[in-house]
Symmetry: C2
């Protein structure tokens, strides 16, 4: 190229700076300019809840680089406090406005990158403009929320939305000493992210930390005392709080692109191909303003993540400097710390799998994250979702005080590569007592799915057993734990009978082999084994409770291991 | 089948009990008998070093089940303290001897499982029978070593062999207050397991814990005072110690199989097919007495692991009860805690890859295991090994105080599925500040390998730079860290020049672009970037130091992050 390539990048969050820095490494001569409407660039937005909670000790720790250092290190011109007003695609130029002075000017480009991110959804609820009602997206939002916390008189907060940010903020505000109420329109926490079994465990855990959960409620109004909010009114009750975080979701910032005639998609996303190129070949887009292809279904999904935005920047940088890279898509991996429970998910949930046309077979398996004899051993609960026809792993979720995220990362890798449950069952995972048991909880989950696929066993979820009890069904609920364990926790129901597993062979003839029998223990392992024994002995209708008392909510997951 | 299937299992460690328990679940009627020469069955052999160090508080915590409970829970007859003398394949029976009474008798089988495990290699070194020289394999070994520690007068120990067990024992004996010397015939710790770069970091760490390492030495004699050992004599020196652990490796217990005419392999292993069936169709074998197929090379390798033994048992149980399962092989995953450094490996090392005919491209990348601003963020150092031709990941290794094993498990999953480095670079790993950075250290390693594959950059290892310095080579070693960092740690060499990265564009013309220039920083990231800048500016011979000062041994890996 005879003259310098002119690259203009709109947006200085994650994808923008990544694009700029790598473009510079790939093209020493290019003129690279990044435009940002905020004063700050390149900050760790995902760290904001931890700055609010004081877990991250310094605001500066969130700032990766500033405009001056970006110029020095990567020779990138950064225009902060500057808004792009419009894109003239035919003329290959954009119009900008310096926000402080309202000065307008234009900038030519050869390649344009739109990395405008996403913005919190804020519907026109009455009172939403009251002081004290805030979204969390940018560093100044966090500064203002910190100030709100300090000024709070009621020391009560309301969080609207039990998604990732809502839950992180529930922990952050609790850590700052506020009494927190979370209002969620759907009937579980982390809806759309977690299946019931895992979400229910989190609900119990969040409540145990003193947070009030109001599920299945819509906020209809905010009321104030003077200019400051004091209450959130739902369709069912009123919740007190002079700090209100509004976190019901985000949507792509695609207006600029849309106004320029670029194609947008069903999520309000800027449509891109696998090279992250928009419908205009000289314009690329990445980060939160685009949707991503699911590697599992091949369909687009909107999962805005800082991790994905960084990878997008890497790909775009190559493609605007003459290279050719493709972004392969995502598998919907997410993780979140929920007080003492590490939580993660990947791929399709059970209902998502059914909706996508798969026949899903699942396993719900609790287990220690390393041998119980190793110091620091903690419980994890994993749900595995597998396609019956191809035996491919479709998804996985987990929670618990133990090392959940390692398992989620293994499943993310497995799902990306189309691994079957059979390969997972024999996967050569690292084993040594300080790190894991000889068989990982993922191995147990894979084997349970296989046993269900082969028709060797039938499981039932704790929720379904609870319903049978409350419906007054005629069935036997056989508890095969020890007397010692049963004395500590007990399911109060007329159907329950204790028969410790070691006595099963001797006392089996005292049971009615014609009656529907559901076997339960602490984690499900002994119940599964007893179930096999009884099935082999001719019991007609026999099931075991997957996850058993751990997933029932009847046993303390954080408690000491008793076997 | 009209009559009961008779299953006999020789060996009660890991594979044997797993086979028996699952065979019972799959076949209610079978007569299952397990023969064990020890008194104990089904114990956690890998936990023994932690029982010796008192990390595992109770001996009972290592015992998974005993003969009586196995009978009650799984209706398996267990003959402990009983040795199998011979196998009569034609007659489908084995001869046994009850060790206490020396009574001999025979037992018929339809399906026989040989799960005899492995034994420590003990060469006929002079003095090896002295009291105080011990191997570690079984629970009584651990009991005796605990007694030896208590009786020790010199409070000094010698460990022969710096493999997994040798290193675990170095930590265990140090924890018990002994002064430990490790003697290893090869010239690094964990030879055959780790590449130099990772092994060298461990060497520094182990030494920092007060352990004396004597590498490249052979023990030629043990000397004693009276009946008890007092010194180990190597070909170079004498090391004092009245507790000596002999841990140079294990070999399969295959004599019984060999005597019965079953095929054995190059490792002394009992040869099995993918169904874990020996050369006799009615005899199966699994656990430490067999070798495993490498999923990467298709060749057999001997990697005895308790995790693999359990999976073998699962497969064998199906196959001896009329099912048909296959064991897919292993990828050579291992992990070990080395004092404060979490350490792991998977797949082929660099030299192993070259030996197997691959052209290996590697990356050595340090990084924090989660954002530096998150509490508990710690360093990990990853080496990634990739095949140049297919771009497939061949292996990975890591160490450091941070979360290494998660990355190893991700790589184990990736390698099992034949993942390329390009897929790894965009792999959708779980991201949230309490767990990881937006880009994982594996993403950085993958991107570095890709940049090397595309010829965009050239790396050099710290070891090679050290050699250039000691050879007095004429080159510039450009340190692009800050003045503050350089004041803390400094490479003492005439070739070194400090030029902080932010001044690079301004001061570049003061450097000689014709001279060989090697760029270094703390972790390698800034050096890589500076290297790109200088290469783009026309420097002819420019490289960056992979892993930089972290892998140089010049910076405290455990220390505070300074940027």
């Amino acid at each position: 190229m005879d003259r310098q390539l002119r690259i203009v990048i709109i947006g200085g969050g994650a994808c923008g700076p990544k694009t700029a820095a790598r473009a510079r490494r790939l093209d020493a001569a290019a003129r690279i300019c990044m435009v940002q409407d905020e004063e700050l660039i390149s900050y760790a937005g995902c760290g904001l809840p931890y700055y609010i909670s004081d877990v991250v000790k310094s605001r500066n720790a969130l700032l990766v680089r500033d405009a001056a250092s970006f110029k020095k290190l990567s020779n990138v011109d950064v225009l902060t406090g500057t808004r792009v007003e419009s894109i003239d695609r035919a003329g290959h130029k954009i119009t900008l406005m310096e926000l402080a002075t309202e000065r307008k000017y234009s900038l030519d480009y050869d390649k344009l990158v739109i990395a405008t991110g996403s913005s919190p959804v804020v519907p026109p609820i009455k009172g939403i403009d009251l002081k004290g009602v805030h979204v969390l997206k940018r560093v100044p939002d966090a500064d203002e929320i910190r100030a709100l916390i300090n000024e709070s008189i009621s020391k009560k907060a309301v969080i609207v939305g039990a998604g990732l940010i809502g839950i992180e903020m529930a922990e952050a505000l609790s850590a700052r000493g506020l009494e927190v109420t979370v209002v969620e329109a759907l009937n579980k926490v982390l809806p759309g992210i977690l299946d019931e079994e895992i979400s229910d465990l989190l609900t119990d855990h969040i409540k145990s930390k003193g947070v009030t959960l109001k599920l299945g409620r819509k906020v209809v109004e905010f009321r104030g005392e003077g200019e400051r909010v004091s209450h959130a009114v739902t369709d069912k009750e009123t919740a007190e709080g002079d700090v209100v975080i509004f976190a019901i979701g985000v949507r792509p910032n695609s207006k600029l692109a849309k106004d320029a005639g670029l194609e947008t998609g069903p999520f309000g996303d800027i449509v891109v191909n696998e090279c992250l190129q928009t419908s205009d070949p000289d314009i690329y887009s990445g980060g939160d303003c685009v949707a991503n292809v699911s590697i599992i279904t091949g369909k687009k999904m909107f999962v805005p993540m800082g991790s994905t935005a960084n990878k997008h920047g890497h790909v775009i940088a190559a493609n605007i400097t003459g290279g050719s890279e493709k972004f392969p898509g995502i598998v919907g991996t997410a993780c979140v710390k929920v007080f003492d429970f590490n939580t993660g998910r990947v791929g399709l949930g059970e209902k998502q799998a059914l909706d996508a046309g798969f026949e899903a077979v699942t396993a719900l398996v609790p287990g220690p994250d390393k041998p119980g004899s190793s110091p620091g051993s903690r419980e994890v609960i994993i749900k595995l979702i597998v396609d019956k026809k191809t035996r491919r792993i479709l998804g996985g979720q987990g929670t618990g005080p133990g090392e959940v995220v390692k398992r989620i990362d293994v499943l993310a890798t497995a799902i990306t590569m189309g691994m079957t449950v059979d390969i997972l069952a024999d996967l050569d995972l690292a084993y040594a007592p300080p790190y894991n048991s000889a068989l990982d909880v993922l191995h147990h989950a894979a084997n349970l799915v296989r046993n269900k696929l082969e028709g060797r066993t039938t499981g039932i979820t704790p929720a379904d057993v609870k319903k049978k009890i409350s419906d007054g069904d005629d069935f036997a609920l056989l508890d095969v734990r020890s007397k010692f364990e049963a004395d500590r926790t007990w399911i109060e129901a007329p159907q329950v009978r204790l028969l410790p597993q070691p006595k099963l062979y001797d006392d089996m003839d005292k049971l009615d082999d014609e009656r529907e029998t559901v076997v339960v223990c602490r984690r499900g392992g002994r119940a599964y084994q007893a179930c096999c024994t009884l099935k082999n002995a001719g019991f007609r209708d026999i099931k075991f409770v997957e996850g058993s008392l751990i997933c029932w909510g009847a046993d303390d997951v954080c408690g000491e291991q008793v076997l």
